[in-house]
C-alpha cells in the first residue's frame, strides 16, 4: 500500500481513539470504537497480517460493538435510589 494512504489511516486511527475516549455520549463512544477497530484491521492487512486483520474486523467491529450496545441499553442515566 502507498505510504500516503497509510499516513491518512494512522491519522484517522488516532482521531477515532481520542474521540471515543473523550466524548460524553456512550453510544457515540461505541460507534467510534468500532471505527477504530475497522481502521486497525485495514492497517493489519496492509502490513501483511491478513489473519489478524480478519479476526479484528469480525470480532472488534462486529461482536463487541453489539455487546457494548446491549450493555448501554441496560444502564440508566439516573439511579433508582
Amino acid at each position: 500500500m502507498h505510504w500516503e494512504l497509510e499516513i491518512v489511516l494512522y491519522i484517522f486511527l488516532v482521531i477515532s481513539a481520542v474521540v471515543s475516549l473523550h466524548v460524553k455520549d456512550l453510544l457515540t463512544a461505541v460507534v467510534s470504537l468500532s471505527v477504530f477497530s475497522y481502521i486497525l484491521a485495514m492497517l493489519f492487512v496492509s502490513m501483511g497480517a491478513i489473519d489478524v486483520g480478519f479476526t479484528e474486523a469480525v470480532v472488534g467491529a462486529g461482536i463487541t460493538g453489539v455487546l457494548y450496545v446491549v450493555m448501554i441499553f441496560r444502564t440508566t442515566r439516573r439511579t433508582n435510589d
Binding site: D51, T55, G62
Partner: protein
C-alpha cells in the same frame, strides 16, 4: 432492551442479509486450511448473523432458527469434537492432535491430516458460534429477572 422494530426496511434488510453472512461463515470455516480464516473467524461470522436476526425481529420470531436452550449444550459438543480428535490420536500412540494416526480406514497420510484439520475447524466453529450467542442471550435474560 426491547426487541423488534416496526420499520419494514430494517426487517427486509436483516432478513435478506443474514443468510449470506451465514454462507460466508461456512466458506471461511471449510476453507480454513489454505486461505485466511478458520474456526474462530467463521464461528464469529455465524454468531453475528444469528445476533442480527435476534436484534431485528420480534420476540416471537427471533428464536425460530436457533433456540436459546441449544446454546450451552452445542458449545459442549464443539469442545468434545476438538478434544475427541486430540485424544483419539493420543490413544493410538502419537502426540496430542497428531492427525496422521487417526483411525480412518483406507486413507493415506495427507488425506488423514486434511480431514483431521477439518474436524478440528468444525468443532471450534460450533463452540465459538454457540457461546457467543449464549453470551448475548444471557445479557438480555437478566433484564427480566431484575424487574420482578
Amino acid at each position: 432492551m426491547k426487541h423488534g422494530s416496526s420499520s419494514p426496511i430494517i426487517l427486509l434488510l436483516s432478513r435478506v442479509l443474514s443468510p449470506y453472512i451465514m454462507l460466508f461463515g461456512m466458506y471461511v470455516i471449510f476453507h480454513g486450511h489454505y486461505s485466511p480464516g478458520g474456526g474462530f473467524q467463521g464461528g464469529a461470522l455465524l454468531a453475528s448473523s444469528i445476533i442480527l436476526i435476534r436484534i431485528a425481529m420480534e420476540e416471537k420470531v427471533h428464536q425460530l432458527h436457533f433456540n436459546k436452550a441449544y446454546g450451552i449444550p452445542l458449545g459442549a459438543v464443539g469442545v468434545l469434537i476438538f478434544f475427541g480428535v486430540g485424544f483419539i490420536s493420543l490413544i493410538m500412540g502419537g502426540y496430542f492432535l497428531d492427525y496422521s494416526l487417526l483411525p480412518f480406514p483406507g486413507m493415506i497420510t495427507a488425506e488423514l491430516r486434511f480431514y483431521g484439520i477439518l474436524l478440528i475447524e468444525v468443532g471450534v466453529g460450533l463452540a465459538v458460534m454457540t457461546i457467543l450467542v449464549a453470551i448475548y442471550d444471557n445479557l438480555l435474560e437478566e433484564d427480566d429477572d431484575e424487574s420482578i
